[in-house]
Symmetry: C2
Subunit: 339 residues, 2 copies
């Protein structure tokens, strides 16, 4: 543990220095060492964690994180570089700063005794607003009316309505439930799909993972909010896409690899379906990908569930207090289940 | 009543002919004579009314209507020409084919003993979809993201969220209530305003007509769904507009004359407010009106609550059966209240 004296000394000094700045000195002495990793918000997170009285060091690059990882008991962060794991000798708990942990679970180097938690219940609202923004935009002639306005042209145009359309929500966790609540307010008919077929309030029927063909057969709108696991990878396959109705809308706010991208592309190029895609198998979406040029595809750069650093930090702090009190953590990931 | 023999004979022949085609002959003999007036859907309405077994004549122009009006006991229609009233000797009931009856109530020639009904509970859903289409469009970077897509550019952009915004719904009838239900699903804070301050489910507080300044002071979004009456004409006046917060959004899906248009224009030209306007004091909006050219104004041609002829005809038929059975009608207009 003290095998790399320079970095360790620096690390200890860092933690001591941050600890002395903490508001709650009693928490600091003997407090677990916290490493915060984020390419975009490390300092912001660290500031909030320290302001709450907990020592923490921030790293925005793999090199910075490598200096501190061997000392850290707790790692709070996002898109954590995999080269850290082999040095994470003292790690006990990883708090992902987002909802998806497929990258962590795909890495066999994270020891089984390291607890992993993810943020739940924070992204549903913004993601549901994203979904309804695009659904309404697709159904209503907003763009044509704006063009008519520029020409000073008064001409009513027909609109399609959400009321009565059938939406399938694949994934009925906290994100799916926010979608379902809004869909019901718009008087849509809503069905769900989850691992076990467990009942969900507000939906007419819930299908299991092995009932995809029946689930999608009659949908006007399919929204994917599933976690990416071995059971869900490419679950929206060529046969499932072929089962969907002509003119149906696919919205993916889950993970790109839920969908067989090549099969989806074929259906989109034939104009059979419309897609609103916020996530992709490769991100950023390569500049030469055909999705960019299709009028019936709406490409957005993985922004539907933006992290709000303040709220994510509050979530971490609530979990940290549970951790210190020996209580069960929020958002615990079941590695076998995959989320 | 038989003073104009030619038209009367024609009329009687028409009604007899239509009556013989009716499915329910017993209803036809002695059935009240029904005139249907609509510039756009007269034949469609008449077809549905006759298919239900009731004789009816259709008129799409004032001249056609004048031929039949003196015989008619029931007038079902929209934008009914005012020259009909002086000949409406046998008229007992007017069913407006829409929600707004301000044009009818403004006409003193309609005898007080003629009952007026309007369509309620049909336009709330589509109007609420219109409102949320534009609110989400204004808050989210849909257009900028589409432009980025055309450039194959992957760059997340910030979005504003509906959650937490404060919406004021002026008019808490069937349209207002549909809005309120959706606003609550989006976790907006909702307040209402109506004539009496009567409580409304789902809103935090309801203001009365004399509390406009307090009602609008803290709103992010003001939606007008009020009927046009002497009490509501130009109720959104210069001082009320001046009380609204910078950056607030005004959505008018009620009637154009609820707003002092000149005062609104000044606020919009200064960029203080954003407006989504589906109704105007003069419709069609004159081609030289400054609203057309303002980027912070969304002009749409009075389409937010489109009549669906089938549903409006069903509403009329339900009311017709009540009328024939001597039961109270749906959507009765209180002429003193003004809607």
């Amino acid at each position: 543990m003290f095998g790399r004296p320079l970095s360790c000394c620096l690390t200890t000094l860092c933690w001591m220095a941050y600890g002395q700045r903490g508001k709650e000195e009693d928490r600091v002495s003997g407090a677990p060492k916290i490493l915060i990793y984020s390419q975009t918000a490390a300092d912001e997170y660290a500031g909030m964690v320290r302001a709450a009285g907990f020592p923490a060091v921030a790293a925005a690059t793999p090199a910075e994180a490598l200096v501190h990882i061997s000392e850290a008991e707790i790692l709070f962060g996002w898109r954590i570089p995999s080269e850290l794991w082999r040095h994470a000798e003292n790690l006990r708990w990883i708090q992902a700063a987002g909802a998806g942990v497929d990258d962590l679970l795909a890495n066999p180097e994270i020891r089984p005794d390291v607890q992993i938690t993810r943020v739940v219940d924070q992204f549903g609202g913004p993601i549901a607003e994203y979904v309804f923004t695009y659904l309404l935009h697709l159904l209503k002639p907003v763009e044509r009316l704006r063009a008519q306005q520029r020409r000073h042209e008064w001409r009513p145009l027909p609109a399609r309505d959400l009321v009565g359309l059938r939406m399938g929500v694949a994934g009925t966790g906290s994100i799916g439930r926010e979608l379902i609540r809004r869909a019901r307010a718009f008087e849509m008919s809503v069905i769900g799909l989850n691992h076990s077929g467990a009942e969900v309030p507000g939906v007419e029927r819930v299908y299991r993972y092995d009932e995809w063909p029946q689930f999608v057969a009659d949908l006007d709108v399919l929204v994917l909010t599933l976690p990416l696991t071995p059971a869900t990878r490419h679950v929206v396959s060529e046969p499932i896409l072929a089962t969907m109705k002509d003119g149906a809308i696919l919205v993916n706010v889950g993970r790109g690899a839920l969908v067989d991208t090549k099969a989806l592309l074929r259906h989109l190029q034939r104009g059979r379906l419309t897609a609103v895609l916020d996530v992709f198998e490769e991100e950023p979406l390569p500049a030469d990908h055909p999705f960019w040029n299709l009028d019936n595809v709406w490409v957005t750069p993985h922004l539907s569930g933006p992290s709000q650093p303040r709220r994510v930090a509050e979530y971490f702090l609530a979990n940290l207090r549970r951790y210190l009190a020996g209580q069960p953590l929020l958002g615990v990931v079941d590695r076998d289940r995959g989320y």
